[in-house]
């Protein structure tokens, strides 16, 4: 009974929920919370990117472009035009989805390195526009973003709130919010993967020609997953803008795009929990390496190279493979 439950697709979600519930016991100060909240926001973004990269087998080196568009849409709508957050996030997601669909149709015909080039170009163009349209975006200096308001209830990182009689701080409230959002992101992704759409996507990854021969409209499904992953990025970008309270075009930069795709590959393409682990590791690494000061960049590059050379399948799939091999050996020995 328990075994069958563990095999189900909810297993990953349960493990994640458990971690998110236990984690606050280890978070000592607001700085820890901030780090974990940023991690969760970015993790949800890469869960969306993983649908495109890990399941449909398409590369995107420009995903921060959509993240940045979402962040700036929210920032401008709430800050300059006084919208409240929820409509800003929703309309932003729709707008970014449409943009992704328009550019995705022609781009996704490309393959391999040409696709990586084209997505890289889209990301760069978005970043350059955000940098140069100073009147709207504040240019390279960035722009302030008001606190998140949920149906008239303002959620500021500096606020004090009470939940079921418990006093919680602003960062703790944010922690609860992003935890729920991350779980929703994972839940949606897992359901999508198990749906007919997910099967169609995996067939595209396996062999695009074979998929189209058996009647899968490969162009349609590729565009669809591209749009979905862009919407993930847009919503998370909007939340990120609210949480940080200040955004610069760096959120749409090439470096950020590379960070996203690296999280996917490092954690384990096609593994939802894996890419979350990738996000956690790559977000923690600079904190750990900060002690090395001058050596920080060198160490980062070295670790990146070594992990990818020796664990080309990514952290989580490699670890699971080793663990299950050990278990099987043990089980075999006992029998």
């Amino acid at each position: 009974m328990l075994n069958r439950f563990m095999q189900s697709r909810l297993r990953g979600l349960m493990v994640l929920a458990l971690i998110l519930i236990i984690l606050p016991a280890f978070l000592g100060n607001p700085f820890h919370y901030e780090l974990v909240i940023q991690m969760a926001i970015i993790a949800a973004t890469v869960v969306g990117l993983n649908l495109l990269v890990g399941f449909a087998g398409q590369i995107s080196l420009g995903h921060a472009g959509f993240f940045g568009l979402g962040a700036y849409f929210t920032g401008i709508a709430t800050g300059t035009y006084g919208w409240s957050s929820v409509p800003a996030l929703v309309v932003g997601a729709i707008a970014v989805g449409i943009i992704a669909w328009v550019v995705g149709r022609p781009i996704l015909r490309l393959k391999g390195h040409y696709l990586s080039m084209a997505t890289l170009a889209v990301g760069f163009i978005i970043a350059i526009i955000l940098n140069n349209e100073r009147a709207i975006t504040g240019g390279p200096d960035g722009m302030p973003v008001p606190a998140l308001d949920l149906f008239g209830w303002e959620l500021s990182t500096f606020g004090q709130y009470s939940l079921f009689g418990l006093d919680i701080s602003g960062v703790q409230a944010w922690y609860i919010l992003v935890s729920v959002v991350l779980l929703l992101a994972v839940w949606f992704a897992q359901n999508l993967i198990e749906s007919p759409i997910g099967r169609a996507l995996r067939s595209v990854k396996g062999s695009e020609v074979a998929a189209s021969v058996v009647g899968v409209d490969t162009a349609k499904y590729k565009s669809l997953v591209f749009v979905i992953s862009a919407i993930y990025a847009s919503i998370m970008g909007g939340l990120y803008a609210h949480f940080q309270g200040f955004i610069t075009p760096a959120v749409a930069s090439f470096e950020f795009s590379i960070l996203f795709i690296t999280m996917v590959v490092l954690g384990g393409m096609g593994s939802t929990l894996g890419v979350i682990l990738g996000a956690v590791v790559l977000k923690l690494l600079p904190q750990v390496l900060a002690d090395f000061q001058e050596l920080e960049t060198v160490m980062f590059g070295l670790i990146l190279m070594l992990t990818m050379i020796f664990m080309p399948k990514g952290l989580l799939p490699t670890i699971t493979a080793i663990v299950s091999k050990r278990m099987r050996k043990k089980a075999g020995g006992e029998a």
Binding site: A118, L120, V122, V265, M305, M308
Partner: protein, 291 residues
């Protein structure tokens, strides 16, 4: 009017020649191993920075250049031997991340050794600009064009006249068959990375007096080179040269006549346009996918 146009054209051709050399480096490695080397720009940086610091230590210019080029070549071999070769059967994305890791690593070392500030290199010959129909031509531009042309001719001769060059071509066409006729393909791959690094570092050295140099110039120059290679069609030598020059000229014209703020957007809009209509670039080979 004419002077203005000529001015932009000179600027465009000069920077375009640099892009062409970087694109050739990409092409070479792509042909030999089907890897897109995101660390290509770092070879330029190493070339320029090493030359600047060696001359500052009192090494004569010629020796400084030779040493810098050798350093880059060794780096190219090391990159293939220690980062690419061990990853053998990895995915396209995984290989991209490995080369990105390598470029961060190299940049990190450069930052430790040379610091974060900009470095200035003297023109090779006179600082006196040359007047052509009212336009001003930096004498260093002639060096860039001349050296670029020599490199292209040398590459053509290398691939058509020498045994080693032909071995690289053979490996790029069919690795298994090349091994069967006795070509040591691992050596050939290292060689391809080395030649690519040499090309990059030479480009980095000749262009340094114009653009200045710092530890992080490799990122954007490398990407522009990748754009140039993709415009021309990955794997095509002619394409790399045409792509590089076209990109340089269009960029300079946009900066001059339209807006210098959007100069960097030109490269990326251009590559999208080209790929929309020609998914394999201008000179890319038609590939039939085998199922």
């Amino acid at each position: 009017m004419l002077a203005e146009f000529l001015q932009y054209l000179f600027t465009g051709i000069t920077i375009g020649a640099t892009y062409a050399l970087i694109a050739l480096g990409f092409t070479l490695i792509y042909n030999a191993s089907h890897v897109i080397n995101f660390a290509q720009g770092e070879f330029l940086m190493i070339g320029g920075m090493a030359t600047v610091s060696l001359t500052a230590m009192g090494v004569p210019m010629v020796f400084a250049v030779v040493l810098a080029v050798i350093l880059a070549g060794v780096l190219g071999i090391a990159l293939q031997r220690f980062a690419i070769a061990p990853a053998k059967q990895a995915d396209v994305v995984t290989l991209i991340i490995i080369t990105i890791g390598a470029s961060i690593f190299i940049r990190g070392i450069a930052q430790m050794v040379w610091g974060k500030q900009y470095h200035v290199m003297q023109n090779f010959s006179t600082n006196e600009p040359i007047q052509v129909f009212g336009a001003v031509l930096n004498s260093q531009s002639l060096w860039v064009l001349g050296v670029g042309a020599v490199m292209v001719v040398a590459l053509v001769l290398f691939f058509t006249k020498t045994l080693i060059g032909k071995a690289i071509l053979a490996t790029s066409m069919n690795k298994e068959a090349a091994r069967l006729v006795g070509i040591r393909t691992q050596m050939v791959l290292m060689l391809a990375f080395m030649v690519s690094a040499l090309l990059g570092s030479v480009a980095g050295i000749v262009v340094a007096p114009i653009t200045f140099t710092s530890y992080d110039i490799g990122i954007i120059l490398g990407l522009k080179g990748f754009v140039a290679a993709a415009i021309g069609g990955l794997g095509s030598g002619v394409g790399a040269v045409v792509g590089g020059l076209t990109l340089g000229i269009v960029e300079a014209m946009t900066a001059g006549y339209i807006s210098s703020d959007y100069k960097d957007a030109v490269a990326f809009s251009m590559i999208l346009l080209v790929l929309f209509f020609m998914p394999r670039g201008l000179f890319g080979a038609k590939v039939v996918e085998r199922v």
